[in-house]
Symmetry: C3
Subunit: 337 residues, 3 copies
């Protein structure tokens, strides 16, 4: 992929070398995100952070990533007040808004809308989530986290063993992750879900065609026994016919420290796209895992900053200039990370 | 007008030389808006972008214009959460908020409120729209666009021929534009509207007194035959007694490529304050005009950035320092404009 | 107190020397807030301005203070769209959001929530108000204003004489101020309120234990006769059993120019946490005081900028570098303050 000037709309755009390019740039963003150094490579650039659907943390993560490169952020949140609501076409909206910034992140509740917007935009557009369709930066940060976590124990994305647990039917996150994993070799995927919430058949087929080993099961314990990563997701009660049925599954897929100790290998890493539900009856990852050093859920969200910085740096073609515009941080950062 | 430190509340403040001064500064903003160069002339300055009524594009346009000069933006959107709602006077609100920034843009639903706010403010206030009253930056960007478009064919604001089409009774935009055009010589104005939506008498009188030639008509085709500019506006169905009546007028004032080809001169420029309605039954400018090089509606909104940059530069008295604080852009901008 | 890296959650953290340290730093912020000079000491730093409850002026004041030190601001306003609403714990929210910025200001409707958030945050958190609990920057700016105002007439916080007027029972502001005043010597406090809205007993006791002289009364005129400061607060009608009862008290505690002239000493300073009610039936400070040079309510809100700049500078440990990162302002500022 030619990143400079491109829209980032779907993980389908990414070949293995593209993913590796993003990750290589993300690796170099660490000192800036961790405040060991400061870069002003995008000083004077403007991000249009256009959230036509609210998503506080995705919005703030993109905005902070742009600030960390030295750029400015203009934002909008919500839908009702926009011209779209008055009958304006996405074409017109895109033509107008793309005159106000150097790059746009757009989130929109309607599937496909971000692509339509991008087609009329005069500046690169990054998809910040369009309904149930795509959220490519989330998929990339998940995979980047997997890569970083297993690397700490000498592992690689090739030969990765991963269990995905929970609602695999409706979860946009796990769908995208499966597609990205298909770019790598000898990956072993354990899909753990209630029967009603199985991974869609076409995605399973795509993985098998790509050479991955895929197992499906509704048994948590055996599925997490031989994996590098457990990727947990929320059981969404609204999908079930009754509370009782939902609660049945919930009990079985709940991971806590004693389940972990009893069934997982010592270095198995725990991930989750967040938010996780902290209400007693609805937990999928218990708080008693918070001190487990293999709980990677907050490293995962921190990695979102690195991956989003990398995407901005690539589409604006400054990835190789980041360090040359850098300097030391002059404020207190001790104990920060 | 002495711009430095002044409020910009109404186009009635502007004499011809003032308009020309704004346009001369706006002309010099092109390289910055188009990202050929970068200026930091307002580095460290703060804009209070105070929108007590939502207007996404006006808000983002002002904010981006300020960022393009190197300044920072603090914003507020919406009304319900403010102290005004708790019984605070505009005087107090203005005194408080004007301590937080170097210049304020204020939009407010109540006519005259921005002027009242400005009277108590300790920093310059730009009117971003106060109800049906004034929206001076919109009027200036419209006129600036006319000037730029006709200049491409050797035309001038003096001797301009313009048709204004649609709802001329309630449209704040066309009222302001008429007043600004009265500052120029030998202007010919064709007003095309349904009888019920004619331009208010006093504005027609004001133009005639100022020496303009004014024609009124409800026939689109003959009125757009001999003009430099067609300025189209929305027919607002809520003003009519019935849907059927609204639809009657709509059909007559709808401009599309075949009407344009049949009736307009080759270089006639099409403008619109946007948003235009893209719903089938409500269109005033068809999508088939999108490839017509004389469709200036997106150049018009782009010009909003130039004019707003010029207004900020003038009231903060940095218009002559913009270039000396400038440098090259270091990110990818190819194919942007 | 060790400021660098600390959370600022409660005025209970502050000893007298800490208050004096904040004030000494705030004193040095004047030239920057008044735009005589510009500092970029926090250039590249990011504030997470997290308002889970709306408060326009507190939010903008914190944001502008951070901008005035050269930093960037990422914001969120409102609650409904956040992950907290989906059952996420404050612990998770704090861990995630604290990866996006260098310091966080948090406002939240629930008492104690900001402290809980801070406990999990990886960066310093400033309490921007947590329900009826604490709003420490407001208390500090009030005390800083008192110090500055009485200093103009040779006075000090030691030996201060102050009257607090209005709703002393529910007002978070006056409670905090009383606690801070307890750090100083020989302070004389006159509490003026309806019987039903008296200062809570424990706060009165705390002041007396600390050696302050405390008088309680429901007579405005005699209580404001011999004081340096009159600190007025809103009578909140919703606390009363009937409109009529509220109106009874209102009439008695209303301060206007003629009451001031008849009863106050010439240099008595008038303060109010704002907003003050401008509706005829509900006023506590009349508009005819606006020209009284001792009306300090707008100097008070301006001081909020200085105190918040000082808090940021202290927790990020740049208080001693502010001047060395400074330069002259290049835009028009004449007549600003």
């Amino acid at each position: 992929m030619q990143f400079a000037g491109s829209h980032i709309l779907s993980i389908a755009q990414f070949e293995r070398t593209d993913v590796e390019r993003v990750f290589a740039v993300a690796d170099r963003m660490g000192p800036y995100a961790q405040r060991k150094r400061l870069t002003k490579v995008l000083d004077g650039a403007i991000l249009g952070n256009m959230f036509f659907e609210p998503s506080t943390r995705t919005r703030v993560s993109f905005g902070s990533a742009f600030n960390l490169l030295g750029g400015e952020v203009r934002e909008t949140t919500g839908f009702e007040s926009t011209a779209i609501a008055k009958g304006e076409s996405l074409y017109d909206t895109a033509r107008v808004l793309s005159g106000y910034s150097d790059v746009i992140v757009m989130r929109h509740p309607a599937e496909g809308s971000v692509g339509e917007f991008a087609a009329a935009s005069r500046v690169p557009v990054l998809n910040g989530g369009d309904g149930s369709n795509e959220h490519p930066s989330q998929a990339l940060l998940d995979l980047y986290t997997i890569k970083s976590e297993v690397a700490a124990h000498g592992g690689h994305l090739d030969k990765l063993r991963i269990a995905m647990v929970g609602d695999l039917r409706y979860g946009r996150t796990v769908h995208s992750l499966c597609k990205l994993l298909s770019l790598f070799d000898a990956v072993e995927v354990h899909l753990v879900s209630p029967l009603e919430l199985r991974m869609p058949e076409d995605i399973v087929e795509q993985m098998r065609t790509a050479g991955l080993s895929v197992w499906e099961s509704d048994r948590l314990e055996e599925s997490i026994a031989q994996v590098d990563i457990v990727y947990s997701t929320r059981i969404q009660e609204e999908r079930f016919s009754s509370q009782e049925e939902a609660d049945l599954y919930r009990g079985r897929f709940r991971l806590n420290q004693s389940v972990y100790t009893a069934h997982c290998q010592p270095n198995t890493v725990i991930m989750h796209p967040l938010p996780r539900d902290s209400r007693d009856h609805a937990r999928e990852l218990d708080d008693d895992l918070n001190d487990n050093p293999n709980l990677a859920i907050f490293r995962q969200t921190d990695n979102g900053i690195l991956v989003r910085m990398a995407l901005f740096a690539l589409v604006l073609d400054v990835a190789d200039q980041v360090d040359s515009h850098s300097r030391e941080v002059n404020w207190y950062t001790a104990g920060r990370f």
